[in-house]
């Protein structure tokens, strides 16, 4: 398979040599792939703007084709499917939330070339939503993180107790136990969760935007805090872009 074609979202770019870039892609059929885009930093490049972060593209790649499947593929052609980059970069809160979406997606795909179609579709959906300005950027990010964790097998328990299953409502959120816990199973240091905060997380999980959009900033901050702690606990290492996310609600469209 020297040449193959796939759809992809550009997660990250790094400079390489004089005018090239290494692009990290989340593809529809081949999972996370790293490839070299040659000459894209020159001003006259044919597809420089298409292999920027946030872009949804249709690519032709030349496979590295070595024995262990490592090594870098080469991007030979690129067509734009969704130019989300421009609309996202034009608004700073969208940009910071979007970067955290990309970093989360990159970190949740531990193995290269392992197909993860559901995560791919989720990333495309999140970027489209950010670019269209449908909802508050940081809420889109929280919804993405919750659903991406669920796809990866880390869905937080938000109804009953995560340890014994006793039906809620419970008021303590323990990241190590996997979600809400009852009074008996509450470990020391578990975070307090208000009913409103839990309701918001449930709404974000299920895509109930009618309820999520109108929520108060205080509740949103609480939910975002729990989501961020839960994500970073499972990733075992902090997400670099998370501390730059703008949590302000002033720029809601």
């Amino acid at each position: 398979m020297p040449l193959y074609r796939d759809e992809a979202v550009v997660l990250r770019t790094q400079k390489l040599g004089e005018a090239d870039r290494i692009v990290t892609l989340l593809t529809r059929r081949h999972g996370r792939v790293r490839a070299v885009a040659k000459g894209v930093r020159r001003t006259g490049s044919k597809f420089g703007s298409r292999v920027e972060p946030f872009m949804h593209v249709d690519l032709q790649l030349h496979s590295a084709n070595n024995e262990n499947g490592s090594g870098l593929d080469i991007v030979t052609q690129a067509e734009t499917l969704g130019p989300y980059g421009e609309a996202i970069a034009a608004d700073y809160s969208r940009y910071t939330a979007g970067t955290a979406v990309l970093e989360t997606a990159e970190r949740l795909t531990a193995e290269e070339r392992e197909p993860s179609l559901r995560l791919y579709l989720l990333v495309v959906g999140a970027l489209r939503s950010l670019a269209d300005g449908e909802h508050t950027p940081s809420l889109i990010l929280d919804a993405f993180i919750l659903r991406a964790l669920a796809i990866s097998g880390y869905e937080p328990v938000l109804s009953g107790c995560a340890v014994c299953g006793e039906p809620g409502p419970h008021r303590a959120f323990a990241v190590g136990s996997g979600g809400l816990v009852c009074r008996d199973h509450r470990p020391p240091g578990a975070a307090a969760a208000t009913p409103d905060g839990i309701e918001l997380m449930l709404a974000l999980m299920s895509g109930d935007w009618a309820n999520a959009d109108g929520v108060e900033p205080k509740v949103q901050r609480e939910a975002s805090g729990l989501v961020a702690t839960y994500l970073q606990w499972h990733l075992e290492r902090g997400l670099r872009s998370l501390r730059f996310v703008e949590r302000s609600l002033v720029e809601r469209p």
């Binding site: 946030f54 130019p83 910071t96 970093e103 872009s241």
Partner: protein, 199 residues
């Protein structure tokens, strides 16, 4: 593997950007065979660049003194500041001979994924320069890539209330190229930024 000093030199040269092990070896042997005077000149240039070159206290460009040549030049327009990412960009714009104002070098672009936020760049210094009211126009000349656009968006939002005209360098078709090869984003920008033709 070579003996002591030669191998040390190869290792050091190999750490430079774009220099692989083979090139490092070639440069090392070139230096070994070169005239001692030429090598001495190279050594002096290297020590001097580390000892003498500082960053301008006003704009952040590379300078030999406390201030760079451009900030010291009184003939330059004080009312216009052009914001760029790197000192290399100052040189690129200077080559055009189109711009007579002064610069501000940020030292990079906002890139949360690399852990670079607004506080890691020289944005506070820029705000201090704008505070006294002499500057009437701010030209955002960050790179026309995603990080550069986001940085420009951030800066434009910061100075919105200050009553300063904020402009962004135009993006569009490269001179000497073919229209059919332009990508959608660039061509779209070129349309957006088209101007009346005066003959």
């Amino acid at each position: 593997m070579y003996e002591g000093p030669v191998q040390d030199l190869i290792d050091e040269l190999g750490r430079l950007p774009g220099v692989g092990p083979k090139s490092a070896q070639r440069i090392a042997f070139f230096l070994l065979a070169a005239d001692p005077v030429d090598v001495r000149r190279l050594i002096d240039a290297l020590t001097e660049v580390k000892d003498k070159v500082k960053f301008c206290s006003i704009c952040g460009n590379v300078a030999e003194d406390d201030q760079c040549r451009i900030c010291r030049d009184e003939r330059r327009d004080l009312t216009v500041i052009c914001v760029v990412e790197e000192p290399k960009d100052v040189v690129a714009i200077e080559r055009t001979r189109e711009f007579r104002g002064r610069y501000h070098v940020l030292g990079g672009a906002i890139s949360p994924i690399e852990g670079v936020g607004p506080d890691d760049l020289r944005i506070r210094e820029l705000m201090m320069r704008l505070a006294d009211g002499t500057v009437t126009e701010l030209i955002l000349a960050t790179d026309p890539n995603l990080e550069g656009e986001a940085t420009a968006t951030y800066l434009a939002r910061m100075v919105k209330e200050m009553g300063i005209t904020v402009t962004r360098l135009a993006s569009g078709l490269p001179v000497g190229g073919d229209l059919e090869y332009a990508d959608e984003v660039t061509l779209g920008r070129a349309f957006e930024g088209r101007r009346a033709y005066s003959s």
